[in-house]
Amino acid sequence: MEPILQVSHLSVSLPGKNGPAPILKDISFSLKQGEILGLVGESGSGKSMTAFAVNQLLPGGGKSITGGSVLFAGEELTGKTEKQMQTFRGKDIAMIFQEPMTCLNPVFTVKRQMTDVIMIHEKRSRKEAEIQAADMLKKVHIRDPERTLSCYPYELSGGMRQRVMIAIALSCSPRLLIADEPTTALDVTVQAQIIFLLQEACQESGTGIIFISHDLGVVSQLCSRIAVMYAGTMAETGPASEVLKAPGHPYTKALLAAVPRFTSGGVRDRLYAIPGMVPDPSEIQRGCLFAPRCPHAMDICRTEHPPIQNLGNQHQVSCFLEKGVSRGDGIS
């Protein structure tokens, strides 16, 4: 099946302290219809920038993209004008963010904001749009859609606002939904509900979802494929089950070890913490960008860029360790 989104060799540079700094370096991944891809990494890894690049919303506009392509349903998005992109945004490609309050207009009711979107993109009358808005709220499991519709954003809790945002995003049945850390600001119980909603939307309407998060725990529950990013590079991509069970990249392994769990070990044992910090993109780097923090780093890692290895089953890892850290030389 043809993928709904195909990003290949995407590179992005943004102005930095010492001239243009590479923010994304040779990023490739694809997303099929009805698939949920987890884009994982620490802050500064470039995961949000990737989302913006797909949507052509980069701070510097199209000029920031220095190479590669973004194919959406077979159509090239890089180089599209702002006006051309507007026909995609909201309708074919929807986006939700971490803080829904900043995306909802505080002076309008939920009804007004939902119907506006539906009327613009679906060309419906206000009456029809209102009915559809109520339907959408029911779909995101809001019990009393009529009451919620008449609310202003500040009257809703964080979880409810995120539901409304999802309802708005899904109201034009987009083919691609980009969710940028949508649950990071929420309680775990509410987070579970949002994950459930996204799963449902994906199954029912076949929407492809890119779910961005720093927490492999959350991603493991929702996504069928995982892409791990580090400092603007793609460290590892593969089916979720494989990446989680046998991570190929030391960074993925470290991220996994950092997730708090209660299924094993006693009280107050230590979590694995990755030493050091994500490098500053404006500094010139050589070799594997993770090498300074990697427990398995070898001499070659510090001088040369690691090759992309195929571990089979569309599982790729960018590392010098043969067959990845979990199956390779017995290091672990």
């Binding site: 119980t189 579970a192 492999l216 470290a254 997730v259 209660f262 299924t263 009280v267 910090m277």
Partner: protein, 316 residues
């Protein structure tokens, strides 16, 4: 013997004024009682709005309780005047959630770290700077950071500075109000490990507040689960995690995303409900999957079900 830290029937009621002067009471805390031993670490878990942050604010006296008391070594801190509070304030310090708004953007790290000692009139100016640089090293940062401003640091580093600031007055008790929930998972691990080390080194007592039960395990000996301003379950952390008894604790546990654990869809009843407190009956009635008639009529109280493990539920 009096307990080291004792919270007695602590209640905080906020009065909201409506449009036409109509007043409604919101019970942020509703008769919380706890006792904490010296050197112990107590986790407090619950969703936003359960009153856990109000408890933190009362502990450091940013707010005054409506009724009830907080006793530190038998001395009440809840109703003291600001002047008499001075000494006690240095003994209880707090680390806030947001690493961005918790440090003044116009002050250098040195100014930030010496401020508490200056306010309390501790040490000479040189000693204060020395102490600031020692503490900075204790939290794993270079003392050259003293001259920098907060915006030059990442979220995790800022949180380290906040921890160092809280330690300057040599407190006995540290209130940690979701200190890691704004951080990346990888950074969270660093900060949690740091907190564990510091506690051992300085023999501190922790009150660790979080919405994630899995995080609490790494730092707390005991855990209290709060819901709508009350404690519904309290006991040893391991016991709470491995054999939770209250249905709410079970719901919280099920929601924690764990690698390798299959996702369990939330129950349809697990929706946020209005904050209105039922007059009688169990506070968890609306969301409870195993409720019955008795739960609606009578409110359960905390009862010891296992050793040191108390639960307030009729259905056990």
């Amino acid at each position: 013997m009096t307990a080291f830290l004792e919270i007695k029937d602590l209640t905080k009621t906020f009065t909201l004024k409506g449009f036409f002067g109509k007043k409604t009471d919101v019970h942020a805390l509703n008769g919380i009682s706890l006792s904490v031993e010296k050197g112990e670490s107590l986790g407090i878990v619950g969703e936003s709005g359960c009153g856990k942050s109000t408890l933190a604010n009362l502990m450091v006296r940013l707010e005054e309780p409506t009724s009830g008391d907080i006793l530190l070594d038998g001395i009440s801190i809840a109703h003291k005047k600001e002047k008499e509070l001075r000494k006690l304030r240095s003994r209880i310090q707090i680390v806030f959630q947001d690493p961005y708004s918790s440090l003044s953007p116009r002050m250098t790290v040195e100014q930030i770290l010496t401020e508490p000692m200056q306010v309390m009139g501790q040490y000479t100016s040189r000693e204060r700077t020395e102490r600031a640089s020692e503490l900075l090293e204790l939290v794993g940062m270079r003392s050259s950071s003293l001259r920098k401003y907060p915006h030059e640091f990442s979220g995790g580093q800022r949180q380290r500075i906040s921890i160092a600031r809280a330690l300057t007055t040599e407190p006995d008790i540290l209130i940690l109000d979701e200190p890691t929930s704004a951080l990346d998972v990888s950074v969270q691990a660093q900060v949690l490990n740091l907190l564990t080390d510091i506690r051992e080194k300085m023999k501190l007592t922790y009150l660790f507040i979080s919405h994630n039960l899995a995080v609490v395990k790494y730092i707390s000996d005991r855990t209290a689960v709060m819901y709508k301003g009350r404690i519904v379950e309290i006991g040893p952390s391991l016991s709470i995690l491995t054999s939770p008894m209250h249905p709410y604790t079970k719901e919280l546990l099920a929601a924690v995303p764990i690698v390798g654990k299959p996702f369990c869809p939330p129950r349809e009843t697990a929706h946020e409900t209005g904050g209105t407190d039922a007059e009688r009956g169990c506070i968890y009635y609306d969301r409870c999957p195993i409720k019955d008639e008795k739960c609606r009529r009578e409110r359960p109280v905390l009862e010891e079900r296992q050793e040191d493990h108390e639960v307030s539920c009729w259905k056990l």
